[in-house]
């Protein structure tokens, strides 16, 4: 049976940049292997969420993997928690958290550093001070992840994800926000109350904690509060393997992408050196994909660095990341069986100019036996506009892959 590999370069799409001859990073990068996929395959422009709407990375990946976000997306928190390796139960409400530095002023907590001096390994030692608390009958599960980040799960009856963030999302000297209910339900009001109490209790547990006392001595800011954001409720979805009848694995550095895969029951294959940053070991990911494609029908390889460079406005960095991904594609072209379908695309556009996601579609190329090869010679935002696929939606990808793998069903008869 043929296999398929989908390479998702996060934030791959871009806009013409006046400081770089009006070109995009994809137009500027030297990428003979990716362009070979375009030349030998069929191309198009991909809208992962409804056209004209700006995709998030979470909604975009749900869509790419055949899970309509309108149906399955209930906030980002659960993906982060699953990505951090936590197990979720039906009805759990999960959040991303930051360790931050606060000072108490007139009875309010003021954030002086939203990332607690980018605390790293020590954050892990602070976890136990918060994990296992109980608030108004709700169990608190708390796990530090990378640097100043953590995942928070609230477990118990009567919770809602319709609550606002405690994280002020601003630089310096903003007060911690009061979490507020976002609808009129009593569950939302109750959950907001639990979140606010969690924030206060985290301050009491962390301020002056031995780890923080040591940080103060070393002239570092305390990590003396945990600020939740991105509430989401976990509802167990139908599993990928049962829905589509194929086996799948995901190779990714970032917790979110691992979490999306685990959410669907897709195996997550950890690759040493896959960091989810621009320093990631792209070739190690390629090696891993070439290795495991023998064991799975479908492998998703996620590379995050292109998005990071876009958010930083780092055009040359994005070009460099694309060129490294191109080497990985070269490796795959050498190493995987000739009947393996390979698709390359992104989850959304992240403009180096705007330093944010934007709604423009992402180039998409698919190469493999029997596809209708078009005249496109390069993977970029302009060439792919005339591709044989035209404009496609995220939910188009999964049934197409299934059909190519001889695993799709006829609609009707």
């Amino acid at each position: 049976m043929p296999k398929a590999i989908l390479i998702v370069c996060d934030g791959l799409g871009d806009l013409p940049h006046p400081a770089f001859r009006g070109r995009t990073p994809l137009q500027s990068a030297r990428k003979p292997n990716i362009d070979r996929l375009s030349s030998e395959g069929i191309n198009g422009l991909l809208h992962t969420v409804p056209r004209g709407v700006i995709p998030g990375s979470d909604t975009a990946h749900l869509s790419l993997l055949g899970y309509d976000p309108m149906r399955y997306y209930r906030g980002r928190g659960p993906f982060e928690a699953l990505g951090a390796g936590l197990k979720l139960r039906e009805g759990d409400v999960a959040f991303r958290c930051n360790f931050a530095t606060v000072v108490e002023k007139d009875g309010r907590l003021i954030v002086t550093d939203r990332r607690a001096g980018r605390i790293r390994e020590q954050a892990k030692e602070l976890g136990p001070a918060l994990d296992g608390m109980e608030i108004q009958g709700i169990k608190v599960i708390f796990k530090p992840t990378v640097e100043h980040r953590a995942a928070l799960v609230l477990r118990g009856p009567g919770l809602s994800c319709m609550v606002s963030d405690a994280d002020p999302h601003e630089g310096e000297n903003a007060p911690v926000r009061e979490s507020k209910p976002l609808d009129a339900s009593k569950e939302a009001a109750f959950t907001a109350g639990v979140v606010n109490e969690f924030v206060t209790k985290s301050f009491h547990a962390l301020d002056g904690h031995p780890v923080n006392a040591a940080r103060v001595k070393a002239g570092l800011p305390q990590a003396n509060v945990a600020l939740p954001r991105g509430a989401g409720i976990y509802r167990k979805p139908p599993l990928f393997g049962e829905r589509f009848g194929i086996t799948a694995a995901c190779i990714a550095g970032g917790a979110l992408y691992k979490g999306v895969a685990r959410f669907m029951g897709i195996d997550v294959v950890d690759v040493p050196g896959a960091t989810g940053g621009t320093d990631t070991d792209v070739m190690a990911k390629g090696e891993a994909a070439a290795r495991i494609i023998g064991d799975y029908d479908y492998v998703l390889v996620h590379v995050k660095g292109t998005d990071n460079a876009g958010h930083d406005g780092d055009f040359p960095g994005k070009v460099g990341m694309i060129e490294r991904i191109d080497e990985m594609v070269g490796l795959l072209l050498k190493r995987v069986p000739a009947d393996t379908y390979i698709a390359v695309t992104g989850d959304h556009t992240t403009s180096c100019l705007k330093k944010r996601h934007s709604s423009e579609p992402v180039p998409f190329a698919l190469r493999g036996p029997g596809v209708r090869v078009d005249g496109v010679k390069a993977l970029d935002e302009f060439s792919c506009a005339s591709g044989g696929l035209g404009h496609i939606d995220g939910l188009f990808v999964m049934p197409t892959i299934l059909d190519l793998l001889d695993k799709a069903h006829v609609y009707g008869s």
Copy 2:
């Protein structure tokens, strides 16, 4: 913050015309400024309602402004009433009306002139004879508008918009139609009864009215009946400003377009000389748009004449109208700040051959900072088919504009 101007040329699209070298009006017009927008922008073909369906002007404009007609369209009447300056309340049922000429024959009213000799200013003097009536507990609000036209609002409990027209929509000597319920509800049956009684009462109030007596003396047909059509129920929608977080204004001559704008809470800016016909002062509209773009984030400029020419089968008239709109675009290009997004399109195709709306998509061009400029050099039905936007839907326009204005939200995170 950047601003955006959307120019909607009503009925802009057309079909190849054998009498004009197989070309469309857009292909025949000299329009250097509009073509400059195409050349310097991104282009596509726009379907304002589901593809293959013939758009009405009302449904098309709802869609273009981000209001899904499947959800918000409940008949044309309310837009006409709002366009005429009437205020509506939740549950009001509104109609367009014609003053017509009827004769009584065997107890039936026979229409001898559906437009009452295209009565003009005198129609206003007839309004008070109908306005303020009460029928079966329902209040009648009646306001003459332009020429033989008027708006009718029925206000009171238990009304429905599921009733057929009293207007026979035919030329000469057709009987006034009995309004009939279009579903099995008691509200529809009741409303049809009120409409029929209104028609009868209008005849009793208008036939022999001093204004009509004077018309008879002058050899003119009486305007001795008011014939309702296009029932629609008013349900207050969420306001444009609250939904999208931007301020918007509409410049239009026709009542329908003003009504659609008022329905959403978009400011209507009246421009002297904007008639809603082919005699409209297009340059005055452009001057007004250039002036008010300083005060608003988004300005819609509507020009009706292209549609009128299409309905009349007047190919050269449509070409001339396009050339006048081109001058307005030239004025805008000179007068608005360079970072202003300008889009030009139509609400639907009105074929000079068929003299009616048809389902083919309309060319669309969008120019402004950072758009992915494609290779299209002219705005027409053929060139735009290869544009970078491909085929787009009406509801694509609003989120795209919001993203360009930095006012969109990420779906997900």
